[in-house]
Protein backbone atom coordinates (compact mmCIF):
# COMPACT_ATOMS: atom_id res chain seq x y z
CA UNK A 1 0.00 0.00 0.00
CA UNK A 2 1.38 3.42 -0.87
CA UNK A 3 1.79 5.75 2.05
CA UNK A 4 -0.48 8.66 1.16
CA UNK A 5 -2.26 11.15 3.36
CA UNK A 6 -5.93 10.33 2.99
CA UNK A 7 -8.94 12.24 4.26
CA UNK A 8 -12.64 12.12 3.45
CA UNK A 9 -14.09 9.84 6.13
CA UNK A 10 -17.44 11.62 5.72
CA UNK A 11 -18.29 11.87 9.38
CA UNK A 12 -17.77 14.49 12.00
CA UNK A 13 -20.93 16.57 11.88
CA UNK A 14 -22.92 14.21 14.10
CA UNK A 15 -20.16 14.05 16.70
CA UNK A 16 -19.74 17.81 16.66
CA UNK A 17 -23.49 18.24 17.16
CA UNK A 18 -23.71 15.54 19.84
CA UNK A 19 -20.86 17.18 21.74
CA UNK A 20 -22.89 20.40 21.89
CA UNK A 21 -26.14 18.68 22.89
CA UNK A 22 -24.44 16.61 25.62
CA UNK A 23 -22.69 19.73 26.91
CA UNK A 24 -26.09 21.42 27.24
CA UNK A 25 -27.52 18.41 29.14
CA UNK A 26 -24.53 18.46 31.51
CA UNK A 27 -24.83 22.22 32.05
CA UNK A 28 -28.54 21.95 32.91
CA UNK A 29 -27.93 19.01 35.29
CA UNK A 30 -25.08 20.83 37.04
CA UNK A 31 -27.27 23.90 37.46
CA UNK A 32 -30.16 21.85 38.88
CA UNK A 33 -27.87 20.09 41.38
CA UNK A 34 -26.22 23.34 42.52
CA UNK A 35 -29.55 25.14 42.92
CA UNK A 36 -31.11 22.16 44.76
CA UNK A 37 -28.19 21.90 47.18
CA UNK A 38 -28.12 25.64 47.82
CA UNK A 39 -31.81 25.54 48.70
CA UNK A 40 -31.23 22.87 51.36
CA UNK A 41 -30.90 24.06 54.97
CA UNK A 42 -28.08 21.58 55.60
CA UNK A 43 -25.84 19.23 53.62
CA UNK A 44 -25.67 15.68 54.85
CA UNK A 45 -26.24 12.06 54.04
CA UNK A 46 -30.01 12.61 54.33
CA UNK A 47 -29.97 15.40 51.73
CA UNK A 48 -28.16 13.18 49.22
CA UNK A 49 -30.21 10.08 50.01
CA UNK A 50 -33.48 11.99 49.60
CA UNK A 51 -32.33 13.58 46.34
CA UNK A 52 -31.49 10.22 44.78
CA UNK A 53 -34.43 8.25 46.21
CA UNK A 54 -36.78 9.03 43.30
CA UNK A 55 -36.59 7.51 39.83
CA UNK A 56 -36.76 10.95 38.19
CA UNK A 57 -33.46 12.09 39.70
CA UNK A 58 -31.87 8.71 39.02
CA UNK A 59 -32.91 8.85 35.36
CA UNK A 60 -31.78 12.47 35.05
CA UNK A 61 -28.44 11.50 36.61
CA UNK A 62 -28.08 8.59 34.22
CA UNK A 63 -28.80 10.95 31.33
CA UNK A 64 -26.08 13.27 32.66
CA UNK A 65 -23.59 10.42 32.96
CA UNK A 66 -24.37 9.03 29.50
CA UNK A 67 -23.92 12.56 28.11
CA UNK A 68 -20.62 12.80 29.94
CA UNK A 69 -19.39 9.48 28.53
CA UNK A 70 -20.39 10.29 24.94
CA UNK A 71 -18.89 13.77 25.28
CA UNK A 72 -15.70 12.26 26.71
CA UNK A 73 -15.52 9.72 23.89
CA UNK A 74 -15.48 12.46 21.22
CA UNK A 75 -12.96 14.55 23.15
CA UNK A 76 -10.60 11.67 23.90
CA UNK A 77 -10.92 10.38 20.33
CA UNK A 78 -9.93 13.81 18.98
CA UNK A 79 -6.88 13.89 21.26
CA UNK A 80 -5.86 10.37 20.17
CA UNK A 81 -6.34 11.36 16.50
CA UNK A 82 -4.00 14.32 17.05
CA UNK A 83 -1.25 12.61 19.02
CA UNK A 84 -1.18 8.92 18.04
CA UNK A 85 0.06 8.62 14.48
CA UNK A 86 0.09 4.82 13.72
CA UNK A 87 -3.47 3.86 12.72
CA UNK A 88 -3.28 0.40 14.38
CA UNK A 89 -2.35 1.86 17.78
CA UNK A 90 -5.02 4.52 17.35
CA UNK A 91 -7.70 1.91 16.66
CA UNK A 92 -6.58 -0.12 19.69
CA UNK A 93 -6.79 2.94 21.97
CA UNK A 94 -10.22 3.83 20.52
CA UNK A 95 -11.52 0.33 21.29
CA UNK A 96 -10.12 0.44 24.83
CA UNK A 97 -11.68 3.88 25.47
CA UNK A 98 -15.08 2.67 24.17
CA UNK A 99 -14.93 -0.46 26.33
CA UNK A 100 -14.02 1.59 29.41
CA UNK A 101 -16.87 4.05 28.79
CA UNK A 102 -19.43 1.25 28.24
CA UNK A 103 -18.28 -0.32 31.53
CA UNK A 104 -18.64 3.04 33.28
CA UNK A 105 -22.20 3.33 31.91
CA UNK A 106 -23.13 -0.11 33.29
CA UNK A 107 -21.46 0.74 36.59
CA UNK A 108 -23.43 4.02 36.75
CA UNK A 109 -26.73 2.14 36.50
CA UNK A 110 -25.57 -0.22 39.23
CA UNK A 111 -24.63 2.67 41.54
CA UNK A 112 -27.73 4.82 40.85
CA UNK A 113 -30.24 2.03 41.41
CA UNK A 114 -28.20 0.31 44.12
CA UNK A 115 -28.18 -3.03 42.29
Amino acid sequence: MVNRVVTGAHYGLRDWLVQRVTATVMAIYSLVIVVYLLLQPSFGYDTWAELFSGNVMRTFSLLFLLSLFYHAWIGVRDIVMDYVKPASVRLLIHVLVILALVLYAIWSVQILWGL
Binding site: V5, T7, H10, Y11, G12, L13, D15, L17, D78
Partner: protein, 231 residues
Protein backbone atom coordinates in the same frame (compact mmCIF):
# COMPACT_ATOMS: atom_id res chain seq x y z
CA UNK B 1 15.97 50.91 16.47
CA UNK B 2 16.83 47.44 17.64
CA UNK B 3 15.84 44.27 15.78
CA UNK B 4 16.28 40.56 16.42
CA UNK B 5 15.76 38.62 13.23
CA UNK B 6 15.57 34.90 12.61
CA UNK B 7 18.32 33.82 10.24
CA UNK B 8 18.75 30.48 8.56
CA UNK B 9 20.47 29.51 5.36
CA UNK B 10 20.22 25.73 4.97
CA UNK B 11 23.29 25.71 2.69
CA UNK B 12 25.65 27.23 5.23
CA UNK B 13 24.01 27.16 8.69
CA UNK B 14 23.79 24.07 10.88
CA UNK B 15 20.80 25.49 12.74
CA UNK B 16 18.76 28.70 12.79
CA UNK B 17 19.90 31.59 14.97
CA UNK B 18 18.70 35.09 15.94
CA UNK B 19 20.74 38.01 14.63
CA UNK B 20 20.71 41.46 16.25
CA UNK B 21 20.51 44.54 14.07
CA UNK B 22 20.75 48.19 14.93
CA UNK B 23 19.13 50.65 12.56
CA UNK B 24 19.39 54.41 12.78
CA UNK B 25 16.04 55.69 11.64
CA UNK B 26 13.10 57.61 12.97
CA UNK B 27 10.03 55.41 13.31
CA UNK B 28 7.68 58.27 12.35
CA UNK B 29 4.99 56.93 10.05
CA UNK B 30 7.25 54.19 8.65
CA UNK B 31 6.13 50.61 8.40
CA UNK B 32 8.12 47.55 9.42
CA UNK B 33 8.77 46.71 5.77
CA UNK B 34 10.53 50.08 5.30
CA UNK B 35 12.91 49.13 8.12
CA UNK B 36 13.49 45.66 6.63
CA UNK B 37 14.38 47.24 3.27
CA UNK B 38 16.93 49.50 5.01
CA UNK B 39 18.30 46.50 6.88
CA UNK B 40 18.69 44.69 3.58
CA UNK B 41 20.83 47.61 2.37
CA UNK B 42 23.04 47.01 5.44
CA UNK B 43 23.11 43.25 5.04
CA UNK B 44 22.07 41.95 1.63
CA UNK B 45 22.06 38.32 2.80
CA UNK B 46 18.81 38.96 4.73
CA UNK B 47 15.99 37.19 2.90
CA UNK B 48 12.30 38.07 2.99
CA UNK B 49 9.42 38.29 0.51
CA UNK B 50 7.62 41.49 -0.45
CA UNK B 51 5.82 42.85 -3.44
CA UNK B 52 3.02 45.42 -3.33
CA UNK B 53 4.15 46.98 0.01
CA UNK B 54 0.57 48.09 0.76
CA UNK B 55 -1.19 45.07 2.28
CA UNK B 56 -2.74 43.73 -0.89
CA UNK B 57 -0.45 40.96 -2.16
CA UNK B 58 0.09 39.17 1.15
CA UNK B 59 3.68 38.17 0.46
CA UNK B 60 5.38 39.80 3.45
CA UNK B 61 3.51 37.89 6.17
CA UNK B 62 5.80 37.15 9.10
CA UNK B 63 5.82 36.67 12.83
CA UNK B 64 6.35 40.09 14.41
CA UNK B 65 6.97 40.18 18.17
CA UNK B 66 5.21 36.83 18.47
CA UNK B 67 2.21 37.75 16.36
CA UNK B 68 1.61 37.05 12.67
CA UNK B 69 1.08 40.07 10.47
CA UNK B 70 2.06 41.89 7.31
CA UNK B 71 5.29 43.88 7.61
CA UNK B 72 4.06 46.50 5.12
CA UNK B 73 1.04 47.57 7.17
CA UNK B 74 2.52 47.17 10.66
CA UNK B 75 3.65 50.59 11.82
CA UNK B 76 7.09 50.64 13.46
CA UNK B 77 5.99 52.97 16.24
CA UNK B 78 3.47 50.36 17.46
CA UNK B 79 6.19 47.75 18.07
CA UNK B 80 8.12 47.13 21.27
CA UNK B 81 11.91 46.96 20.86
CA UNK B 82 13.91 44.90 20.17
CA UNK B 83 11.53 44.01 17.38
CA UNK B 84 11.70 40.24 17.07
CA UNK B 85 10.94 38.93 13.60
CA UNK B 86 10.54 35.28 12.75
CA UNK B 87 9.15 33.41 9.75
CA UNK B 88 5.49 32.31 9.84
CA UNK B 89 5.30 29.46 12.36
CA UNK B 90 4.67 25.86 11.39
CA UNK B 91 5.85 26.01 7.78
CA UNK B 92 9.22 24.76 6.47
CA UNK B 93 11.77 27.58 6.24
CA UNK B 94 13.43 28.04 2.85
CA UNK B 95 15.72 30.84 4.04
CA UNK B 96 15.51 33.46 6.80
CA UNK B 97 11.92 34.83 6.73
CA UNK B 98 10.94 32.98 3.56
CA UNK B 99 8.74 29.94 4.14
CA UNK B 100 7.54 27.16 1.87
CA UNK B 101 3.81 27.83 1.37
CA UNK B 102 3.22 24.64 -0.67
CA UNK B 103 1.21 22.90 2.08
CA UNK B 104 -0.90 26.01 2.62
CA UNK B 105 -1.79 26.30 -1.08
CA UNK B 106 -2.38 22.56 -1.38
CA UNK B 107 -5.12 22.91 1.23
CA UNK B 108 -6.44 26.02 -0.53
CA UNK B 109 -6.66 24.18 -3.87
CA UNK B 110 -8.38 21.20 -2.21
CA UNK B 111 -11.55 23.26 -1.64
CA UNK B 112 -11.90 24.06 -5.38
CA UNK B 113 -11.46 27.83 -5.08
CA UNK B 114 -13.37 28.67 -8.23
CA UNK B 115 -16.99 29.05 -9.32
CA UNK B 116 -18.61 25.80 -10.46
CA UNK B 117 -21.55 26.52 -12.73
CA UNK B 118 -22.57 24.18 -15.51
CA UNK B 119 -25.12 26.51 -17.13
CA UNK B 120 -23.98 28.00 -20.44
CA UNK B 121 -22.31 31.36 -19.78
CA UNK B 122 -24.69 34.29 -20.41
CA UNK B 123 -23.93 37.12 -22.86
CA UNK B 124 -22.73 39.37 -20.05
CA UNK B 125 -21.95 38.37 -16.46
CA UNK B 126 -23.83 35.99 -14.15
CA UNK B 127 -25.94 38.41 -12.14
CA UNK B 128 -26.54 38.42 -8.40
CA UNK B 129 -28.99 40.47 -6.40
CA UNK B 130 -27.31 43.10 -4.18
CA UNK B 131 -28.49 41.08 -1.15
CA UNK B 132 -26.86 37.88 -2.41
CA UNK B 133 -23.71 39.78 -3.28
CA UNK B 134 -23.58 41.15 0.26
CA UNK B 135 -23.05 37.58 1.52
CA UNK B 136 -19.58 37.60 -0.06
CA UNK B 137 -18.38 40.60 1.93
CA UNK B 138 -15.84 39.58 4.55
CA UNK B 139 -14.94 36.52 2.44
CA UNK B 140 -13.64 37.67 -0.94
CA UNK B 141 -11.19 40.14 0.63
CA UNK B 142 -8.84 37.34 1.74
CA UNK B 143 -5.37 37.83 0.24
CA UNK B 144 -4.05 34.37 1.18
CA UNK B 145 -1.13 35.74 3.17
CA UNK B 146 -1.24 32.72 5.48
CA UNK B 147 -1.20 34.68 8.76
CA UNK B 148 -4.33 32.90 10.03
CA UNK B 149 -3.54 29.30 9.11
CA UNK B 150 0.00 29.55 10.50
CA UNK B 151 -1.36 30.95 13.77
CA UNK B 152 -3.74 28.00 14.15
CA UNK B 153 -2.60 25.17 16.48
CA UNK B 154 -4.87 22.73 14.62
CA UNK B 155 -3.08 23.62 11.38
CA UNK B 156 0.35 23.32 13.04
CA UNK B 157 -0.58 19.83 14.14
CA UNK B 158 -2.35 18.52 11.02
CA UNK B 159 -1.27 20.74 8.09
CA UNK B 160 -1.65 17.78 5.73
CA UNK B 161 -5.24 16.99 6.78
CA UNK B 162 -6.86 20.11 8.25
CA UNK B 163 -7.80 22.67 5.58
CA UNK B 164 -7.00 25.56 7.91
CA UNK B 165 -8.83 28.85 8.46
CA UNK B 166 -7.76 30.50 5.15
CA UNK B 167 -8.90 27.52 3.07
CA UNK B 168 -12.16 27.19 5.01
CA UNK B 169 -12.93 30.90 4.66
CA UNK B 170 -12.49 30.47 0.91
CA UNK B 171 -14.58 27.28 0.96
CA UNK B 172 -17.42 29.26 2.50
CA UNK B 173 -16.86 32.08 0.00
CA UNK B 174 -17.95 29.65 -2.77
CA UNK B 175 -20.61 27.90 -0.69
CA UNK B 176 -22.18 31.32 -0.03
CA UNK B 177 -22.03 32.34 -3.69
CA UNK B 178 -25.51 32.01 -5.24
CA UNK B 179 -23.95 31.57 -8.69
CA UNK B 180 -22.16 28.38 -7.59
CA UNK B 181 -23.89 25.04 -8.22
CA UNK B 182 -21.53 22.75 -6.33
CA UNK B 183 -22.74 23.36 -2.76
CA UNK B 184 -23.60 19.74 -1.92
CA UNK B 185 -20.26 18.45 -3.18
CA UNK B 186 -18.42 21.23 -1.36
CA UNK B 187 -20.11 20.28 1.92
CA UNK B 188 -19.40 16.58 1.26
CA UNK B 189 -15.76 17.45 0.68
CA UNK B 190 -15.52 19.11 4.10
CA UNK B 191 -17.60 16.63 6.11
CA UNK B 192 -14.58 15.01 7.66
CA UNK B 193 -13.16 14.80 11.18
CA UNK B 194 -9.85 16.24 9.98
CA UNK B 195 -10.64 18.61 7.11
CA UNK B 196 -13.22 20.76 8.92
CA UNK B 197 -13.80 19.46 12.41
CA UNK B 198 -10.21 19.97 13.63
CA UNK B 199 -11.32 23.58 14.14
CA UNK B 200 -11.86 23.92 17.89
CA UNK B 201 -12.80 27.62 17.75
CA UNK B 202 -9.45 28.75 19.15
CA UNK B 203 -9.90 31.98 17.12
CA UNK B 204 -6.21 32.81 16.66
CA UNK B 205 -7.18 33.27 13.00
CA UNK B 206 -9.59 36.09 13.81
CA UNK B 207 -7.04 37.65 16.15
CA UNK B 208 -4.23 37.92 13.59
CA UNK B 209 -6.01 38.47 10.24
CA UNK B 210 -4.47 41.66 8.78
CA UNK B 211 -7.63 42.21 6.70
CA UNK B 212 -9.82 41.85 9.81
CA UNK B 213 -11.76 38.92 8.39
CA UNK B 214 -13.43 36.25 10.51
CA UNK B 215 -12.63 32.66 9.44
CA UNK B 216 -14.19 31.27 12.64
CA UNK B 217 -17.55 32.78 11.70
CA UNK B 218 -17.27 31.33 8.18
CA UNK B 219 -16.46 27.89 9.62
CA UNK B 220 -19.49 28.22 11.91
CA UNK B 221 -21.68 28.97 8.88
CA UNK B 222 -20.36 25.89 7.07
CA UNK B 223 -21.28 23.80 10.13
CA UNK B 224 -24.72 25.46 10.23
CA UNK B 225 -25.33 24.51 6.61
CA UNK B 226 -24.26 20.92 7.31
CA UNK B 227 -26.67 20.75 10.24
CA UNK B 228 -29.50 22.22 8.14
CA UNK B 229 -29.12 19.63 5.43
CA UNK B 230 -28.76 16.76 7.91
CA UNK B 231 -31.70 17.36 10.25
Amino acid sequence: MKFRIYRYNPDTDVSPYMQDYDLHMDAGDAMLLDALMLLKQQDDTLGFRKSCREGVCGSDAMNINGRNGLACITSLSSLKQPIEIRPLPGLPVIRDLIVDMAQFFKQYHSIKPYLVNNDPPPETERLQSPKDRLELDGLYECILCGCCSTACPSFWWNPDKFVGPAGLLQAYRFIADTRDQDTAARLDNLEDPYRLFRCHTIMNCVDVCPKELNPTEAIGKIKDMMVKRAV
